[in-house]
């Protein structure tokens, strides 16, 4: 079962990757959306706005029964009939039975993700009712027999020629692939259905407890017709759509269109309360309040923030993986990062088991989410849950549990690997080709060899050139610095000594544990946290410095989280967090600032923001400031903070083909910047970007910031 599922998933990835038009469409949309969104939020305090949305949604989650009863009471007073459905089956049954009782033959629908969630169209068809989607994108997808590949733009994966062909099947004649013509055709064709239909079915963006009313945001105007023309209106509403007051609703209306499409407001915002007049009599308004896993989600402390979602789709729009494979791969019914979480709770873990691994962990979604959901954190937790159900795989299990937790064994094996790789590296620092079935890994990037002598073994021989040091700084190297790029350690010593700091290397330090927690093995990650806190604090440093932002995040954030319930280690982890800095911020904030460098005449340089440095540690100005001070002229590449596709085991094991495509985008942006050098602050990004440039035989130099800073002192 699991094997078939994995194979099907891989097949879907391959199909998507062989459709370059899809990637082009999603990239173009992503760029246009990002610009429009930025303009829409211009002059507004985004952090304050999303804190308000989060606050309002959390309030509803905490007191959901109270707000539900308030909503139901007010809606019923206004003449609506309200039913609560525990699951998809109950919701479908209520609606199909209603249709049968009232003799409904045609139901016109406006866009509703809940309807997709419960597969309502299928249920209606089985009950002999013809469902007609009237949102243009939804109609296209319905005619194609597909499901939406985006929550706001359902047919974003399709092109005008395909739409013209589908519409031609409706009209029975060839239709030209002209967008204005196709839109007009949809208007004319669907008008008939609006007038004929006995039932209108809509979703709702907000359910206002205070008034018992629903709010619908649309651009096309179809929801207004769905709610006006047919005698019966059924509104399908997830219970998380509640907002306590009218002011709360206005807040959501202020933010949702800006985040969804970059519009200041949608063409229509429709407030519907109760049974309004309809023809000679009154409308029948049925409101179906759906739970279907939402209460379970509310009870999950690690996942419940997902209930804040207002369905804007921003998390997909910024996601490098979504832009590469689209929503039919990276999604189930709900797509993108939020789709992973909602699928797990609304459709079951099995539906989420593959897509939960699709996240590369770049945190772009976290930075744009208008409801302040830490999607990456929830996804990591779900990986743990699925690992608990299905295991993380025998190979990984041995590596993490038996090897990584034993530092001497782990490091011993890395040393052995340095010797065993000789036939492949031929003594060079770069692996250009791997034999046999590993060859795919070096088809698109060279790989660095494991160093002959890891940093930890050469450390005592590194001279410290500093008298009366003003600070004692412990270096947390991380595996890549220690075993693959030991020279970065030497550069770090050169630079920090010059700034008056002594650098020490606590020998008992080991892997930060992130590879284990990203694979769902939290137990090993906690064990590594404890080992490292002990190792680093035992040397009583003033600061701990890292040259790997993923390690920075582990020390600053994850260790505290892993050890928070441990009476011995919780306080120590907090202390370590407080004194840990990435090297750029350590220099700018603690060791005298950028002014020390005063260089000139460096190469034109562009800077690649590593995901975990910018969106994890909030550091992006600092390295630019340092590089500029060191005499480099800086030029910004497009999408400087877009992921390079490394993602640790993501590019080696789980999704190398996706990682390769994401890297291609990055290299294109680097080359277009005309820079001679690309700087970055992460050894993982360095492995990926340097490997990609080398494979292309590009003259552009890829370097860690610390390497370039050390250069200024060597010159």
């Amino acid at each position: 079962m699991k094997k078939v599922r994995m194979q099907e998933y891989k097949q879907r990835i391959d199909n998507a990757l062989s459709t370059p038009r899809l990637q082009e469409a999603l990239h173009r949309f992503g760029d246009a959306w990002a610009k429009a969104r930025e303009d829409a939020f211009l002059g507004l305090d985004f952090e304050a706005l999303r804190a308000e949305i989060a606050g309002c949604k959390d309030e509803v989650r905490r007191h959901r029964e109270r707000y539900l009863s308030e909503f139901i009471r007010n809606a019923e007073n206004a003449g609506a009939r309200v039913v609560r459905a525990r699951n998809a089956e109950e919701a479908c049954r209520y609606i199909t039975e209603l249709a049968r009782e009232r003799g409904v033959r045609t139901a016109v629908k406006s866009k509703s993700m809940v309807s997709e969630e419960i597969h309502l169209n299928k249920a209606l068809e089985e009950a002999g009712v013809r469902p007609v989607e009237t949102d243009l994108g939804e109609w296209i997808v319905q005619l194609a027999g597909e499901r939406p590949s985006h929550m706001v733009m359902p047919a974003i994966h399709m092109f005008r020629q395909e739409v013209a062909e589908l519409f031609g099947q409706v009209t029975g004649q060839p239709e030209p692939p002209d967008i204005a013509h196709l839109v007009q055709l949809a208007r004319n064709q669907l008008r008939g259905a609006f007038i004929e239909a006995e039932m209108g079915i809509s979703g709702a963006n907000i359910a206002v407890a205070e008034t018992g009313g629903l709010v619908l945001l649309t651009n096309e105007g179809n929801a207004r017709l769905v709610a006006t023309l047919p005698k019966i209106h059924v509104a399908l509403v997830g219970i998380e759509k509640l907002a306590p007051s009218l002011e709360d609703a206005l807040r959501i209306i202020q933010v949702l269109p800006k985040s969804a499409t970059g519009q200041p407001i949608t063409s229509y915002v429709t407030w519907i309360g109760g049974a309004v007049p309809c023809g000679e009599g009154d409308k029948e308004l049925h409101i179906v309040l759906l739970d279907n896993g939402r209460s379970a989600l509310a009870e999950s402390p690690r996942c419940r923030d997902a209930l804040r979602c207002i369905r804007c789709g921003a998390c997909a729009n910024v996601c490098p993986v979504y832009q590469t494979v689209g929503g039919h791969v990276f999604g189930h019914v709900y797509i993108g990062a939020i789709g992973i979480v909602l699928t797990a709770f609304y459709h079951g873990l099995d539906g989420a088991a593959e897509i939960v691994r699709a996240c590369i962990g770049c945190r772009s979604c976290v930075s744009v989410c208008p409801a302040g959901i830490d999607l990456e954190d929830i996804i990591l937790h779900l990986r743990e849950v699925i690992a608990g159900e299905e295991g993380i795989g025998a190979g990984k299990s041995v590596v993490f549990k038996k090897i990584m937790r034993n530092r001497r064994l782990f490091h011993g094996m890395l040393r052995t690997a340095a010797i065993l790789q000789k036939p492949v590296t031929r003594g060079e620092r770069t692996i250009r080709h791997l034999p046999l079935f590993f060859s795919g890994l070096t088809e698109w990037r060279t790989l660095p060899a494991i160093a002959d002598t890891p940093l930890r073994d050469s450390w005592t021989k590194l001279p410290q050139k500093v008298e009366n040091p003003k600070a004692r700084v412990a270096f947390f190297a991380g595996c890549l610095n220690d075993f693959v790029y030991p020279e970065l350690g030497e550069d770090l010593v050169t630079v920090l000594n010059r700034l008056g700091a002594e650098v020490i290397f606590p020998e008992e330090q080991s892997c930060c544990g992130v590879p284990a927690s990203y694979s769902g093995d939290r137990e090993t990650a906690s064990e590594m946290a404890e080992q490292n806190v002990r190792a680093l604090l035992s040397e009583k440093p003033d600061y701990v410095v890292t040259t790997c932002p993923t390690c920075t995040m582990a020390l600053q954030r994850d260790f505290v989280e892993h050890l928070k319930d441990n009476p011995v280690w919780a306080e120590k982890a907090r202390r370590l967090s407080e004194i840990t800095f990435d090297v750029s911020r350590l220099i700018t904030d603690k060791l005298g600032g950028a002014e020390v460098f005063q260089g000139s005449g460096g190469d034109l340089t562009t800077y690649h923001d590593s995901c975990h440095l910018k969106r994890g540690a909030g550091v992006w100005r600092e390295p630019r400031r340092l590089l500029a001070a060191s005499g480099r002229e800086l030029t910004e590449m497009a999408h400087a903070d877009r992921c390079c596709g490394f993602g640790g085991s993501y590019s080696f094991a789980s999704h190398p083909a996706v990682a390769r495509r994401i890297l291609e985008d990055k290299l294109t942006d680097i080359e277009a910047s005309d820079a001679k050098c690309v700087a970055m602050d992460c050894p993982g990004c360095l492995l990926q970007i340097r490997g990609g440039l080398e494979k292309k035989e590009s003259p552009i130099r890829a370097a860690h910031t610390i390497e370039l800073l050390a250069d200024t002192f060597r010159r």
Binding site: M153, M158, N219, E220, N222, V269, W271
Partner: protein, 186 residues
């Protein structure tokens, strides 16, 4: 937001949303604009300021074909809908229409053109500042309140913005002082 800026902001935002704005110095001027731009029969639901002005009569005198009854049957063929506006938001160029009565909804959804008569005195800075009035509009047990910002639009095919999919293709805002200063009435 000072009165003058408010109008400027409103006009700019309405323009960006794709609506046309027209200043009318008298009801007669509004009527002649409607005669020139309606493109055919005009759906005219009943609303306070229209009744006070005797709009139906003025339009008929000007030679317009006016539909003011039997809306369900006649609205599909109408070229235009004419309504008042309860109030507006400067920030986004949004019109707020209390649409509980069905003819108002039909006149603003089905025809290709929507003409909206707005008294400039009823422009609020933004939605939040109008919350108390909005609450009053919804305090009745049943309500249907519409925010309308520009014409109907879609970008569902290849993300190409296309105007006029299910709702009006054109929205004309006729600014006419003296209609009403009460946001609770249209």
């Amino acid at each position: 937001m000072p009165e003058e800026n408010r109008m400027k902001t409103f006009l700019e935002a309405a323009g960006r949303s794709g609506a046309k704005t027209v200043f009318c110095s008298s009801p007669a001027q509004a009527v002649s604009y409607l005669r020139d731009h309606s493109g055919g029969s005009i759906l005219l639901p009943s609303f306070s300021s229209s009744r006070r002005l005797g709009l139906a009569g003025l339009l008929r005198d000007a030679g317009c074909e006016v539909i003011d009854s039997d809306f369900r049957r006649q609205s599909a063929a109408a070229a235009a809908g004419l309504t008042g506006v309860n109030f507006a938001f400067a920030e986004t160029g949004t019109l707020v229409l209390e649409s509980t009565e069905e003819p108002v909804r039909l006149a603003t959804t089905l025809p290709e053109r929507h003409f909206a008569l707005l008294d400039p005195r009823k422009i609020f800075p933004d939605a939040r500042s109008a919350a108390p009035v909005l609450r009053q509009l919804q305090s009745g047990t049943r309500h249907f309140v519409a925010f309308v910002t520009g014409p109907s639009r879609t970008a569902d095919i290849e993300r190409v913005l296309t105007i006029g999919v299910h709702g009006p293709r054109e929205v004309h805002i006729l600014l006419l002082e003296g209609l009403s200063d009460d946001p609770l009435e249209m």
